[in-house]
Subunit: 324 residues, 2 copies
């Protein structure tokens, strides 16, 4: 597949998405912690997308995509596949826009995410994450039922919507020296990259993947899209086997580095966020912070942004992780 479509997704699309989301999505706060600043030796500014509607940034992309459906698409409905937060994002967006929604979810998705998705009125179809191809299931459903498929990350409208995270952050805090963003399929990172290059062009932009699933890092270093086995990691929201074609093209062009965090580092970061910032964040959500907490001398004295991507975690599981 070619990547020439990269030119079709620009910061203008992020600005247009921000207009569609105005008054619908939350303009999430930027949180800070003196203790974390002391630990890192830098000024750390957290964009708190766990406080977004559905508890994750995914609402931005989902709503941006569905709000551009034409009448026929609205009447027929939307289908997507997701390990969780994108599912809720599409389900809520569909309910707000009065569009029928069908969601393909893995059988081992967190119960809280399944329940929330069903609660928004979506129909749920399950599949086995380790043996079945969710994209194929989604495509089949789209073809059979005339639904419009909105994938979780590799779609221009999704990327543009997620980019509003970066737009809001830079509008609120101004230039940053560095910005750390969680990386699964790359919708958030590529969208934020468009905003970064437009609003704080000198900012060092770093994607952070789970160490067990570093397909993005491999792709970035080899210069070609690498696909891995579905990784097993606490960071279920970033357990993607590969970047997308659109997201990879933007990431190659606009991102400075991709680093990784281990599950143990994620748990330490979750505990730190709970004890110092009093925030409940899901494992995927602290990828950026975990990377910043790894000794990084280059951050000394800098202004560093960190995107917290989401806070949807089963409480029993969360309790287990805090008690580790």
């Amino acid at each position: 597949m070619d990547t020439t479509t990269i030119g079709d997704i620009t910061f203008d699309d992020v600005v247009a998405a921000a207009g569609r989301l105005d008054g619908v999505a939350h303009r999430t706060p930027v949180l800070t912690s003196r203790r974390i600043d002391d630990l890192v030796g830098a000024e750390v500014l957290f964009k708190a997308e766990h406080l977004q509607r559905v508890g994750a940034f995914k609402f931005r992309g989902g709503y941006n995509a569905l709000s551009q459906f034409d009448d026929d698409q609205r009447a027929a409905g939307v289908v997507t596949y997701s390990s969780g937060n994108h599912a809720q994002a599409i389900a809520l967006s569909a309910r707000l826009l009065d569009i029928p929604a069908t969601i393909v979810m893995p059988t081992d998705a967190p119960a809280s995410k399944v329940a929330a998705t069903r609660g928004y009125g979506a129909e749920i179809v399950t599949y086995d994450r380790y043996t079945q191809d969710r994209a194929a299931i989604g495509a089949d459903l789209a073809a059979e039922r005339g639904l419009t498929l909105i994938p979780p990350y590799d779609h221009p409208h999704i990327i543009a919507g997620q980019g509003t995270v970066g737009k809001e952050l830079f509008e609120e805090v101004g230039d940053l020296d560095a910005l750390f963003v969680c990386l699964g399929g790359g919708g958030l990172l590529s969208g934020v990259a468009l905003a970064t290059r437009a609003l704080s062009p000198g900012c060092r932009l770093v994607g952070v993947e789970p160490a067990a699933g570093n397909d993005g890092q491999q792709s970035f270093e080899r210069g070609e899209l690498v696909t891995i086995e579905p990784p097993r990691t606490l960071a279920d929201g970033a357990a993607t086997p590969s970047l997308g074609h659109h997201t990879f093209a933007i990431i190659r062009r606009d991102v400075d580095a991709i680093v990784t965090a281990t599950d143990n580092e994620l748990v330490d970061a979750m505990r730190l966020v709970a004890s110092t910032m009093k925030q409940v964040v899901e494992p995927t959500g602290v990828l950026g912070l975990a990377a910043v907490l790894a000794p990084r001398e280059e951050l000394a004295g800098q202004r560093v942004g960190v995107v917290i991507s989401g806070g949807n975690v089963d409480l029993d599981r969360y309790a287990d992780l805090l008690a580790d």
Copy 2:
């Protein structure tokens, strides 16, 4: 003891305290949750004092008191007794103002609170909550060492400082139909009462105590100060045996009702706050919410304020409670 001093603590003192705290204490945000609004059938506005410095409203009163020390008092130092959050508040305020601090803490105080207090540079003296009188220990230390005793709630400067919680809330959200405030010794409730009567005089003001330690409710109903055995409750921040003379006088005059919440209700409220609002709150901190979640038909369609008092809870203990 007489209660004529009530006339000496007015909303003017709260306004003066706000001036001293400006730029030092956080102006904490007001949080909302659509799901909690749906559950309660009202618009619920949470004043988020768990995001205050030291993780609790107590910083306001502590700093307001210490910033009024004269030179001799500053040189000699401050002493106080506290189950935790007031200890941290005095310790941090003392460090900011360069005043030596001695803190009398119960041997069973949460480890996180002891560690944080010591981390601010205070000297810690421990006592047994169930056999020793902390006020007497504090008074002895004050006399022996020439220290100024700043008790955790029954002091005009403490009450005025805590009142800034209410002042900020009403300034941000305007009139409320009802406001629920956690009640231990009554520093927060009496201070907020002064702000309520000045800024939203028609607001129904409700104090919420742990059911196991309802001395305040008994005092309120009998019209005289009732002292009980030190209660055993999850709400360690409200495990006080009685109100203070100053706080009771204001509460009698300005508060409409005192209700209680059980430990089980506190745990349910903590879980709800974690899952919907993504906030880590200590058991004492959800007293107000627990009361609002009890079926209260009178709240239907109203604008209801709830003060979240603090978020300092050992993570292991917090994990145990979430997993219940």
